[in-house]
């Protein structure tokens, strides 16, 4: 369908790379966005015994293991807050990023049956993916709230402004990088073998299991990673480990905007011949 308006005129021409109309089209198809997200959430935990609890178990187990080895045995500093809550805050954002990234990069291939049969703006699919990851994030946040209560930590009022910004950065970052990889994945399926290692390595250049301050003057390089700003500032506002570093947030915003631009560009380029290749 060209568009749900009955009298709409559709003109089909050789595809241009990018058009403002594309964004409008996604808005027209927003109901499909809802339905795809609903489908993914509904299907995900079918035939599992504990269902949505899985969204909590993963970061929780990681938190316990990291707390024992890095916090307890290796005695990695944690900016004067208990290590478990320190690492859990980092993991929460990290997992939103890494789960979104890996799923977005495989999204085109996973949905090829639909893509080669029906028309709709293709960007709907990767956007859906990130939306469903936000649901996991919300579920896993319950544990964080519980831990804050347990450790008597009150988040700063700035959290109301900063956390949404950080979430948007995370989403843009994962979406951008994911789209880029999705575009490559269409032709070179090597991506799906490399990506798990890539994500494992990325966690080490992001201050998830250690505080950003540990890096000394290398922390400048660390800041180039958009997720560094996200994790550091999330801790700053939620746990009061430091002041909000607006410069770092600014760098992250620029970084993820660039990533998103490259990602969408590559995606749009592949979109044109995708249905012919798979």
């Amino acid at each position: 369908m060209s568009s749900p308006q009955p009298t709409a005129i559709t003109v089909i021409r050789p595809k241009k790379l990018f058009h403002l109309k594309d964004l409008k089209e996604i808005w027209v198809y927003r109901e499909l966005l809802y339905f795809f997200s609903w489908r993914d959430l509904k299907v995900r935990y079918k035939q599992t015994m504990i269902g949505a609890l899985w969204a909590i178990i993963q970061p929780f187990v990681a938190m316990v293991i990291f707390s024992v080895f890095f916090g307890g045995l290796a005695k990695i500093p944690s900016d004067n807050v208990p290590y478990p809550i320190f690492v859990y805050t980092g993991l929460l954002f990290w997992q939103l990023f890494s789960d979104s990234l890996s799923e977005v990069s495989g999204a085109l291939i996973a949905n090829q049956a639909i893509i080669t049969k029906v028309y709709f703006p293709r960007l709907i699919i990767p956007i859906t993916t990130v939306i469903t990851k936000f649901v996991d994030f919300s579920i896993a946040s319950i544990i964080l709230a519980g831990m804050m209560f347990y450790y008597h930590i009150t988040p700063s009022w700035q959290a109301i402004i900063v956390i949404p910004i950080l979430l948007i950065i995370t989403a843009m970052c994962a979406e951008g990088l994911g789209l880029f990889l999705a575009a490559i994945n269409v032709k070179y399926r090597d991506v799906r073998y490399i990506l798990p290692y890539f994500i494992q390595l990325l966690i080490f250049i992001t201050p998830v299991i250690y505080p950003g301050s540990i890096a000394g003057h290398y922390s400048k390089f660390l800041a180039l990673n958009p997720m560094t700003g996200v994790v550091n500032n999330a801790r700053a506002v939620l746990l009061g480990t430091a002041q909000v570093n607006w410069l770092q947030i600014g760098i992250s915003v620029v970084g993820c905007a660039v990533l998103l631009f490259i990602g969408v560009y590559m995606f749009k380029k592949v979109e044109r011949y995708f249905a012919d290749v798979v």
Partner: protein, 424 residues
Amino acid sequence: MNPIIEVKGVGKKYLINHERGRYVALRDVLAGIIKKPFAFLAKKARQVTGMESREDFWALRNVSFDVQKGEVIGIIGRNGAGKSTLLKILSQITPPTEGEIILRGRVGSLLEVGTGFHPELTGRENIFLNGAILGMKRTEIAKKFDRIVEFAGVDRFLDTPVKRYSSGMYVRLAFSVAAHMEPDILIVDEVLAVGDAEFQKKCLGKMQEVTQKEGRTILFVSHNMAAVERLCKKTIWLEGGTIKQIGETKEIIDAYLNGQPIIGGKEATEKLANRADKKGPHFKGIDVSAIGGGPVKSDSRLHFKLEYANDTKGDIIDPQINIIVTDELTQKRVLFIDSAISAETLGEHIPSHGTIICETAPINLKAGRYSITVWLIAAGSNRDVLENIVQFEVTTTDIEKFNFRLQPGKDFPSNIISYTFKNK
């Protein structure tokens, strides 16, 4: 009034190496560069400077036509004529390489029913999901929900995951959702190849009702000439990516059916006459036709005339002929005809030169393109093989007559038909 569909000079180009896209591994590309860096550079340079003629393949070229509101247009043509490509462009799945199409209305395509059905979701959930994928609003689906369920006849299983549906129920539900979409322009591709005969009648009826009562425009692609003739006033005949003929359905279908239904026999016979290297038992000529002449239909009987010779010695001992019919689309063998297991075999020997006639029972093949391979075996060893020597096209699937139950995604059942062999 402006036509509802305007197609102006549309073309679609594929790069041959893109076309049958098994995915490329990065490793192979890198290995290629490392092993032959100069060859790679030279190739790139030729591509950049345009000196290398790239392997272009125009699946569609210079296609132009207009469709007025309320018209039902049939699109026919052999496999590979560009029908599917045209529909894919019209439904915006793939963009054209050149040309322009203007669509004045909402387009719905039934390229394959059941697209987007999720096996884990229930019938009710899938109606909403599938409806949304096809472009319906939630309120619209809710309004039509009862009618969709009634048409599909699955009301008892609404809250069962569709993975537990029978394939018939699955298809009925999927078609029902699509049929209630009520687009201004409906694109239909071979949906009628699914479901049982009764349901197919219902679908045809629904389509007729949609066009006559509601004045909707339909583009209907099918190998089923009977259905095309019944539904469409005007028909487009595509061949080799261009429009071969466009006009009154009856006229076009007659022309189409009388154009070469069986190809390759004459050319093959000419070629076979010049084979000098064959001394032992070998084929000298082949001719395939439908008994009674004309195009091959699903219930046609085939007549094979195989000339053979043996230049070395006298009689051919223990002769055996195998005829294999392969579906060109799926590359599956659909018929296997063996003189050794025939009711009347060729006997223990046949003269050194002669002709073997084989006549089959109705072939029971669905519409599509098939190719024939013949084997000549003597005294238990293969003496001559003519691979894919003759191609033929089955032009109609008269499903009502056969009462087949075709299922989506499943192969046509293998056939066992009877045949007789005779040495003349």
